[in-house]
Symmetry: C2
Subunit: 343 residues, 2 copies
């Protein structure tokens, strides 16, 4: 069974790991081996002291590779900061964005391979060969597309500066995808959407993670056109992001921070039977939308939009429960159920 | 008093440190502050995993900055190797050339500054601002000039591969200065030779350190033309290099491994009074040549070549002796004495 995911960092990484592990233990609905492809946001990528840093690719790679710092959700476990301290002593680096030594090695390796002329997708494949992530990681594009943020007041900063330095507390007016006009989907991305048996949108940021991926010319159309069912998992629970600052992003694009509004923002692919039919945003990407039990009240309205909707506990977890399933595994089963491929 | 030195790595770095510290304690012969300028060999420089590594510049910088690993003579004290281990895990790096984490930070910083378009000399000045070396470090050239070694058999390798990987045990046929035709002396280099009160050649490798510096068009002529006395310290004691594998380098260029032969190789600037007058190699760079007491027997022959020669203990050391001078300080006094500016 071919499952394709569009993912940002921590949320997408943890969901994909839970999916991989759940299917490895309990099998796929069709009994075929799970072939997982993760199309990863690269809009957060940046140059730091001459090194190419790809935060989301690394978070997914480290998480699936068993090397992530579980406590913070990104970066490497058992990290040290000797190189960064030296760079600061030389008057370089940014004090609000400090890289660990093990992580820096990944950036040195990536930068070296990129400078040899190897495209980012092939570089990612080479880096992943070490980690055996059990999924294919595809950058959304081999071309650099950097998300910049226009702040209220007019100043424009790199997404990471807004996100990490300002903790998204400075109101954003809009998000710019610098370089997106010249970007094409990375090798394999459109095929992964076209050939999928199921497409899943993990609980990643709908604006600056999944939204950024969808901004690459061709990807939104491929998602809209795929024959596979498309099911998303809400990153908003009870009016707040489960993690991160998606609320600040949603506010900037005029979408309410609620599971229902985000589902409507993605939109339904098909008209509701005998219903209103048209989704609010007119984007029409989803067949199913999974919300948390706290948002069960939104299910009828979502169904009126044409979405198959269901409310289940969305707090992810990797410990097996009484039925042998992890919390993330239960979410996966519910998502596959909404997709029409029940376990 | 302006003192200019031409230096390679460990020998040049330790001599310069001893010189600086000796003059700081005992004063200069003319009572003026010591202004030290070190013209440093960059022929050993190399790209490693996309990082620009300058072994001799770093050895001099770390040594004068009090950060060197004293035991090995190069690299940083209190070093770790986490980044290199990661790079090896990604299938990068060279197993015979492993960089420490603190050292890698210097290379990341240098590479970033070079990629911003800042020339190596200005980059070096910026890196040194942190270390306060008490001397001006000038790369011999801002242009890359890399020493390659043609081995017996015809294969050509980077100097560091021959030196570090093969421990110079594979016979060399000749040394190539790749890029030297397009190189010009670094900013300040010719002025430092022209304006010096004394020029000293520390006990650095006469072939691949000082010889490489002299290969940059214009530097040899500036040294030959300076009004300052030029005095060298033999790196060969009793027929062997004090440190390193200068013997393999000398053999490759057909010079015997002896203090007398190296002195003759540099050559005398002036004819001996009533003597034979011409130096063997015809290069004519030295006024004085300091040899070890083990080589005292060579002094008359060196004098017949037109060199002021003297034999003193050449084993460097930084502990003060009964007369308050360090072993290196005593060598410095002897060198300045040969230069005609006795302490």
């Amino acid at each position: 069974m071919r499952i394709t995911l569009l993912a940002g960092g921590v949320g997408g990484a943890r969901f994909t790991r839970g999916l991989r592990d759940h299917l490895a233990v309990h099998g796929t609905p069709d009994g075929e081996p799970a072939e997982l492809t993760v199309v990863v946001n690269t809009g957060d990528d940046l140059w730091l002291d001459g090194l190419r840093v790809c935060p989301d690719l690394d978070t997914v790679m480290y998480t699936l590779g068993g090397a992530v710092h579980e406590g913070q959700g990104w970066g490497r476990a058992d990290e040290t900061r000797r190189v960064s301290a030296e760079l600061h002593a030389y008057g370089l680096g940014w004090d609000w964005f400090t890289l660990g030594d093990l992580d820096i090695a990944t950036h040195v390796a990536r930068t070296e391979l990129l400078r040899r002329g190897i495209p980012l997708g092939a570089v990612t494949e080479r880096l992943c060969a070490r980690w055996e992530p059990g999924a294919r990681l595809l950058p959304m594009s081999d071309q650099p597309v950097e998300t910049h943020v226009e702040l209220v007041g007019g100043r424009v900063v790199h997404f990471e500066e807004w996100w990490v330095r300002h903790r998204a507390a400075v109101p954003a007016r809009r998000f710019l995808q610098v370089g997106v006009e010249d970007a094409v989907p990375g090798p394999g991305v459109l095929e992964a959407l076209h050939d999928a048996d199921v497409v899943l949108l993990p609980p990643s940021n709908p604006v600056v993670s999944i939204g950024t991926i969808l901004g690459v010319p061709g990807i939104r159309d491929a998602l809209a056109a795929t024959a596979a069912p498309v099911v998303g998992v809400s990153p908003i629970v009870g009016g707040s992001p489960v993690r991160g600052m998606a609320d600040a992003c949603l506010t900037a694009i005029g979408v309410e921070t609620s599971a229902a509004a985000v589902g409507a923002h993605y939109g339904a692919r098909r008209a509701a039977e005998g219903g209103e039919g048209l989704d609010v945003a007119g984007s029409g990407l989803l067949d199913g939308w999974l919300v948390d039990v706290a948002d069960a009240g939104a299910v009828p309205a979502l169904e009126r939009l044409g979405l198959r909707a269901r409310a289940v506990p969305l707090l992810m977890g990797d410990d097996a429960g009484p039925d042998g399933r992890t919390a993330t595994g239960a979410i996966v089963d519910a998502a596959l159920g909404l997709a029409g491929v029940p376990a």
